[in-house]
Symmetry: C2
Subunit: 457 residues, 2 copies
């Protein structure tokens, strides 16, 4: 408890040390990630096709596999300054509790009102929409982290935002909904009567609680049928990983400042936005042969796209209206069990990360829900931060690696991404506190069934 060292508990960079450009890891990849494909034509999506749905500048970022650094516009940097640089924390207390010789660091992205790293891409996407002179943007949200982040960004830029929120979450998670409304967003329970696809589903299935696939379909329909609107997405896409590189760039700058070389880098992985951002500059060094790192993606055992999926073209959404992406996937018809880490319940994985994983430049592990909450509770009590269930997947893996170091006596530097806080996840914590949490692991048959339905490309 009274350990003394030159490395502070929290390393805050100066504002002047914040990254001035996002880093595009694709520029350093010899084999590039596979392009998005138009399911109608079977050919790579063109910029023109994408611009019907997405903002023009974001389409450029999406398709650019070569430009290494994208300067961060001043307005975005100034917004970042309201909550960044985020601290890189040395987990002295956790190290002591575990009795490990390892040094554990975590990059904490939860100290902003959206409660997660999602804000890093939300402000960028909202900025380019505003720059294009759009009236507004649309999106979908499940648990509500992405919707909250985008609400904050849109309020700041005075941009209209319509969030289609899965009806069951809209009703059961009124707090997140009210945060978004406080920021001035229109939050619509999906399915709704505001779109054709919504009306059709309501007619067929009156009383349905909705799904993320349906909410995406509604958000896209609204955007393409209303003048001056575009659709934005919080994960999976290349542009999102580009914006999230700010996490990794700050992490690396903070470690460099104290002469610390990371050995292991760990992040939770759903669609890949956090992990992709955290590892990008380190992966860049690895791709250029300048340094080596053991990079670990942690996914829930209930939704194991890396560890039990296949690398193939698939729909990004369950509604099958978005382009096809080549990625590690369980099949877009795979229905993840109802685990509490909603942000990790995604059938696929970012095409960039999928390609890097396929090239064996990183590895993946899967962990079960109850073990994750045990780690989360321990972390909360020792380090003081109540972590989001998603982030707790990385905590669990980091603890496991630190305990391995205890066995071998190695003083490795372990760095993990703490993506957010769990204040809006107390129903799950309550279930855990009451000893009523269970694990869900899909059967081989379940996975085989949805993989058999993959589209032929």
């Amino acid at each position: 408890m009274t350990k003394s060292t030159e490395i502070p508990y929290k390393i805050y960079l100066e504002e002047s040390e914040m990254p001035k450009a996002w880093y595009n890891v694709r520029a350093d990849m010899k084999k590039k990630p596979a392009p998005l494909v138009n399911p109608g034509t079977g050919k790579p999506m063109t910029a023109a096709e994408l611009e019907a749905v997405f903002c023009a500048d974001l389409v450029k970022q999406e398709l650019d596999n070569d430009t290494r650094d994208f300067p961060i516009p001043d307005d975005i940097r100034n917004f970042y300054k309201m909550y960044r640089p985020s601290p890189l924390v040395r987990a002295y207390c956790l190290e002591e509790k575990l009795g490990t010789p390892a040094h554990i660091y975590y990059k904490f992205e939860g100290n902003n009102t959206s409660g997660s790293h999602k804000l890093n891409s939300a402000i960028a996407q909202a900025y380019y929409a505003k720059k294009q002179g759009l009236k507004g943007i649309t999106t979908e949200t499940g648990a509500g982290q992405w919707g909250t982040a985008l609400s904050m960004a849109s309020a700041y830029l005075d941009l209209d935002l319509i969030v289609y929120m899965v009806k069951v979450s809209y009703e059961q998670k009124p707090f997140r909904r009210e945060v978004m409304r406080t920021y001035g967003s229109r939050v619509i329970a999906s399915p709704s009567d505001t779109t054709n696809v919504g009306r059709k589903i309501l007619e067929e299935f009156p009383g349905t609680g909705g799904s993320l696939g349906c909410a995406i379909s509604e958000a896209v329909e609204y955007a393409v049928t209303h003048e001056g609107y575009r659709y934005v997405l919080g994960s999976v896409l290349n542009q999102v990983l580009l914006h999230q590189s700010v996490i990794g760039l700050e992490t690396k700058a903070a470690l460099d400042k104290y002469g610390v070389k990371a050995d292991i880098i760990i992040g939770c992985a759903g669609g890949g936005s956090n992990l992709g951002g955290l590892i990008s500059p380190f992966m860049g060094q690895k791709l250029r042969g300048e340094a080596d790192y053991d990079i670990i993606a942690v996914e829930p055992a209930s939704c194991p796209s890396f560890t039990r999926g296949v690398y193939a073209y698939d729909f990004c959404d369950t509604g099958k209206i978005c382009p096809l992406a080549k990625m590690y996937t369980l099949g877009s018809s795979f229905m993840p069990s109802p685990i509490h880490a909603g942000g990790l319940r995604y059938h696929g994985m970012s095409p960039i990360l999928s390609e890097l994983y396929d090239q064996k430049l990183m590895r993946a592990v899967s962990v079960e829900q109850t073990e994750v909450f045990k780690a989360a509770q321990m972390f909360a009590r020792i380090e003081g931060i109540l972590p989001a269930p998603e982030s707790s997947h990385a905590i669990k893996a980091a603890i496991d690696e630190a305990l391995k170091c205890k066995e071998t006596g190695e003083a490795k530097n372990i760095v993990f991404g703490l993506t957010g806080t769990g204040y809006f996840d107390m129903v799950a914590y309550g279930q855990f506190n009451d000893g009523k949490m269970t694990d869900f692991i899909p059967s081989d048959e379940d996975i085989a069934k949805s993989i058999a339905l993959l589209p032929k490309v």
Copy 2:
């Protein structure tokens, strides 16, 4: 949005610049605050009497009007390092939106899991309980901020904690309850069958939702009837203001670092823990004649102890079991209207602040709930942080002062305390978003009635 200046958006002190001692403003007061009085004997409470309920070291701090600096023990400083120094934020975006020549700064205490400044005193009180070799501590909580803070501190020190939570909050605010349980606290709905006073109330009023007064009575009874337990309190007391001086000391150090002299200092005031801590070093200068500041306490119009109360001896609790304190009070039988800033619904005010206010060393204003939420919403959209309703009282007053500067053209430096976040107050925000929020202002008759019942000392 692109204002450039040498002062960063967020001023973070280095860990080495954190205060090494708490500052006791009483040492610089010529006329000291009045002592606590034993309602039975009518005489000042002795250390021995207080030690039956409170920890010994804390009693010393409570009674010491002369020692100027109390060194902060290393273990507490190390705990502080997990979430302090807290940032002093320059509100560039708010200034621009208001079009004011004033410079606005806020000390943000919400970036920890308890979501407020309460943690500063919670860890200190838990530490001295542990040092005394106690098994555990007891307390009460209403909305749950104090209970959460104390749960975090107790978990860290492996100390047993029993929280009596007002039953209606226990049932209606399950999220806060689960945070406390996640940290290992025993949370008991009050009134309960675990104490004589609880059983008696349950018998008389079966089905009652409980009250803070009743919860205090149960927590104190449990502490005094169980070997190795003491009772702790999160506001009002001198010791609490002492610990909270860390807020003001950091604020002053950060301003000094950039050569900024505050003109106006603003804090919300319920029991006075935040305001007292924020202003203490500045008030010290004022008391010593070294500098002058315009210091403003902001209270809710529904519970206006400074602006409409009297300065007299009164019970600290509605249950009338605690010692008498001389303070600005509306009478311990005053029932504050159900406003959403639960942390400000207190009939009295810290004896230290009461004495300073009586000496006209600070002033007070009261603000109405709907105006407070308008300011809160504006602040959230512009500065990105979703503030607690309590903190938003200070925001409202700061905006008012900044707008006065706009009229006069004065570039004053306005500093206010942003005590915490509003993530667990979304029911109130929802009411505001729906346009259903109303104001509550007590009548002169209501206040006169409860003041008439003040004890004779």
